[in-house]
């Protein structure tokens, strides 16, 4: 919502574009069959379209809105998402606009009880976290999508029906001019937490609703504090409650504060109450200067997910498949990971480079990631928003101790999440024996600077990558397939890459297009690589169950 007297999209710092439904010549062939249709042109839908375009697959995005989502919403974008944005060819404007950060501080009754640093070093290409408003995220992805000849976006176009047909779905659409249908081989439902496609398919999210409700409000102000996430427990302005404060670009500050049980959402959302709530927080952090209210909303902490992210020819991607609590910053980050996961897999299957069985690995990998978020985010949520007397008492005991015992302060660590490890998932081989260090199979490949000053990841090709330390193996693998499918990086056995991989001259790491490790061997053979590559592209018989 915005202050009284302001237009619905009248922002202090962002000009919302207005998109119309297809016009003129663009209406020719609206009913033509498509390979991939994507419901929802939000950040996840656009990321999925870009991931498919990277594999040479065309798609059409259908969205009922006429502009981007309103408000800053998902503001924390993690390191691995920046790798994904890089692979989608869209990272540059993000790097220019966003604010990178590494540090968080927690306070209890005004006193600092914890300062945590997320892993970062000179061997990392990207910072662990960046703050940027969702409008910019959508705008930058839109610029990349609009520049791609493989991506068509139909705005002001609502998906009103999805019907199974032979080898695909029939999608019904109503736009500002007419209703029509078209057929698609595949449909990606990227249509958000309230996903109309999910309802049309008769599917429901399952899980828990937490009682914790947060007001999220943006203010513009000159406020001298670095980009450090602040959490205030039991502050003067909200006795017993929790407040989060994030810096964003354009002098915008995000303030999240917890509502008490007795506060009604309707009351809390009234502008005078929002202004009073924000003023209380600003008073507590010592801000005495002027501030302008930009936008606000309310958020409920939930842990809900679909049992299966696939329903026939429909895949659910992002919030349509899972809703997670706000504290772990996993909503959009996991949405990007979903989009990239299904993007490369569907692309490879459509190009004949992988077997259709590869698509069956989407749900276990990405739903597994969601359940992992639930386990961690639920811990955070219980600390931020204790659900019962017992949790409240222990939280208060930890906070009270944390004033002079750092170990107790660690309980207030928000567990900003690491990417999920796809270990045990189909297509990821069991971890190689004998390693004493380095990322295991299923993990995201790590980064380092090479001896020539470049990044390890800069040498990655568009498909799979084999990190290899033996010239003979490198030569043999290069004979297997084209570099477009599998790029071989021959690295020095005593170099930085070998060190972080725990590798010797005979070792190898097979890395998937989404940078997760498909397999690694301390002593690799050509046969090993062939088998793992086959398995990771859906070719082996591991998908029977």
């Amino acid at each position: 919502m915005r202050p009284d007297g302001k237009g619905e999209l009248e922002s202090l710092y962002f000009n919302y574009p207005r998109f119309s439904a297809p016009e003129g010549a663009a209406r020719d062939g609206l009913d033509r069959r498509k390979t991939v249709a994507i419901a929802g042109a939000g950040p996840v839908g656009m990321a999925a379209a870009l991931a498919l375009a990277r594999e040479g697959v065309a798609s059409v995005l259908i969205d009922n809105k006429d502009t981007f989502n309103d408000g800053s919403r998902a503001i924390c974008v993690e390191r691995q998402s920046y790798y994904m944005l890089e692979s989608l060819g869209a990272v540059q404007p993000f790097l220019e606009k966003s604010l990178g950060w590494t540090k968080g501080r927690s306070f209890y009754r005004g006193k600092q009880i914890l300062e945590f640093d997320m892993p970062d070093s000179e061997d990392e290409k990207f910072r662990p976290m960046y703050n940027i408003q969702q409008q910019y995220i959508e705008a930058f992805l839109y610029e990349a999508a609009a520049a791609s000849p493989l991506i068509e976006i139909r705005w002001q176009s609502e998906v009103t029906g999805v019907r199974d047909i032979k080898n695909g779905v029939e999608v019904s659409v109503t736009d500002t001019l007419e209703s029509y249908t078209f057929e698609a081989d595949w449909l990606l439902a990227c249509d958000g937490g309230k996903s109309p496609v999910r309802k049309m398919r008769g599917l429901r999210l399952k899980g828990e609703n937490y009682e914790g409700r947060y007001v999220i409000a943006d203010v513009q102000m000159d406020h001298d504090y670095p980009t450090i996430r602040r959490a205030l427990f039991d502050p003067d302005c909200r006795p017993g409650g929790t407040v989060l404060i994030h810096r964003q670009p354009d002098n915008i500050w995000r303030i999240d504060y917890q509502l008490h049980d007795q506060e009604s959402t309707e009351e809390a959302m009234r502008e005078d109450n929002i202004r009073a709530g924000v003023a209380g927080v600003l008073h507590d952090i010592g801000h005495t200067g002027p501030w302008e209210l930009e936008w606000w909303s309310v958020y409920t902490a939930n842990t809900l997910a679909l049992d299966d992210y696939r329903d026939g020819r429909v895949f659910f991607v992002g919030d349509s498949a899972h809703i997670v609590p706000i504290f772990g910053v996993r909503g959009l980050n996991n949405g990007f990971a979903d989009a990239v996961n299904i993007g490369w897999k569907l692309g490879w299957v459509l190009n004949g480079k992988a077997a259709p069985a590869l698509l069956d690995s989407y749900t276990p990998e990405r739903r597994g990631a969601t359940l992992d978020v639930f386990a961690n985010a639920s811990k955070s949520a219980r600390f931020m928003t204790p659900p019962s007397h017992g949790w409240q008492l222990m939280r208060d005991a930890a906070l009270s101790l944390a004033l002079d015992h750092p170990f107790a302060g660690q309980l207030a660590n928000p567990r900003q999440m690491r990417p999920y490890i796809y270990a045990g998932c189909p297509g990821v081989s069991p971890d190689g024996q004998g390693f004493t260090t380095g990322p295991e199979a299923g993990k995201v490949m790590c980064e380092t600077r090479l001896e020539d000053g470049g990044w390890l990841s800069d040498g990655f090709g568009p498909g799979f990558n084999l990190l290899c330390f033996d010239p003979a193996l490198a030569e043999a693998v290069r004979g297997l397939t084209s570099a477009e499918n599998l790029t071989v990086l021959l690295l020095a056995p005593e170099g930085n890459a070998a060190q972080i991989c725990g590798a010797n001259a005979g070792s190898a790491y097979l890395v998937r297009p989404d940078r997760h490790i498909a397999a690694r061997w301390l002593q690799a053979s050509l046969q090993d690589v062939e088998t793992a590559y086959g398995s990771a592209t859906g070719g082996q018989g591991e998908y029977d169950d």
């Binding site: 008492l393 222990m394 208060d396 005991a397 930890a398 009270s400 101790l401 015992h405 170990f407 107790a408």
Partner: protein, 64 residues
């Protein structure tokens, strides 16, 4: 009395006094903080959890 019994008795008395000093409103918080401190000092999660189970097991009505 053995040394162990003397130690336990000293803790017993100090806890009684600390609980009285905290008052009924703050007793729970005091005991929760005390338990976390003991746990941190012990550094034996299995033992601490087993002791917690022991304490909880004999809370039912009719047992002391």
């Amino acid at each position: 009395m053995t040394d162990d019994a003397t130690n336990t008795e000293a803790v017993y008395e100090a806890m009684a006094q600390a609980i009285d000093a905290a008052g009924p409103e703050r007793t729970e918080l005091l005991l929760a903080k005390f338990a976390l401190l003991l746990s941190e000092e012990t550094r034996d999660t299995g033992k601490v959890l087993a002791l917690l189970s022991q304490a909880a097991a004999t809370l039912s009505p009719g047992r002391l």
